[in-house]
């Protein structure tokens, strides 16, 4: 089935440590790829996006993500996590053949310990 998978439901990292959140998709064609972040009681904020071109994309708040076609992955990374990064992170895709809707992964809740 076509889907977006975020295998980690919860992740805990220490402040200052590096972070990688995993995302895989199962579609025949390469979709547009996004990472959104949601703080409690808030809407979704776009961190970064990939449409084409350079496979390493930079986003806001010091985040980056790398698209790997061979692995159908779009993992999110940050070299040094801050306590304010604690939130829920969603990977999402748009596959134009299926319209403009975003298809989301289940989300990864990030906890940052001091």
């Amino acid at each position: 089935a076509q889907s977006v998978t975020q295998p980690d439901i919860h992740i805990t990292v220490s402040e200052g440590a590096s972070l990688e959140l995993r995302c895989n998709y199962s579609y025949g064609a390469t979709p547009y790829l996004f990472w959104y972040v949601q703080s409690p009681g808030q809407g979704l904020q776009l961190l970064l996006k990939y449409f084409s071109g350079d496979t390493l994309v930079q986003g806001i708040k010091g985040f980056e993500a790398e698209f790997k076609r061979s692995q159908s992955s779009f993992n999110l990374r940050k070299p040094s996590v801050h306590w304010s990064d604690a939130a829920e992170y969603f990977c999402a895709v748009v596959l134009k053949e299926y319209g403009n809707k975003l298809v989301f992964g289940a989300g990864t809740i990030l906890r940052v310990k001091s």
């Binding site: 547009y32 996004f34 959104y36 009681g41 808030q42 809407g43 979704l44 904020q45 776009l46 996006k49 449409f51 969603f90 999402a92 748009v94 319209g99 403009n100 809707k101 975003l102 298809v103 989301f104 992964g105 289940a106 989300g107």
Partner: protein, 113 residues
């Protein structure tokens, strides 16, 4: 406006009542989307508007759900005869152009008692 605005931010209703949720998109954005976020189902697409037309309604869960958009701007999502399973956060997003960067509002938290 500066961002996507949704109202009300919270809505508590009784089972069987009708509710209307409102979304004001970013000025000039031609596309508007509704999503639902619930504990059991995660984030689900409901409906997409391009201008005042809705080319994709595939995510509406039942005929109790409807939506309209007027003047290419404000949209209203209506849920008739609400059920407890309709309790969720309803998110609206808008976008400009075909690169489909969607910007989200803060959502309406609907509680059906």
């Amino acid at each position: 406006g500066a961002g996507v605005s949704q109202s009300p931010s919270n809505k508590v209703t009784e089972k069987g009542k009708d509710v209307e949720l409102r979304c004001d998109p970013i000025s000039g954005h031609t596309a508007l989307y509704w999503y639902r976020q619930s504990l059991g189902q995660g984030l689900e697409f409901l409906i997409y508007f391009q201008g005042n037309s809705a080319p994709d309604k595939s995510g509406l869960p039942s005929d109790r759900f409807s939506a309209e958009r007027t003047g290419g701007s404000v949209s209203t999502l209506t849920i008739q005869r609400t059920q407890q399973e309709d309790s969720a956060v309803y998110l609206c997003a808008s976008s400009l152009g075909d690169r489909n960067i969607q910007y989200f509002g803060a959502g309406t938290r609907l509680s059906v008692l």
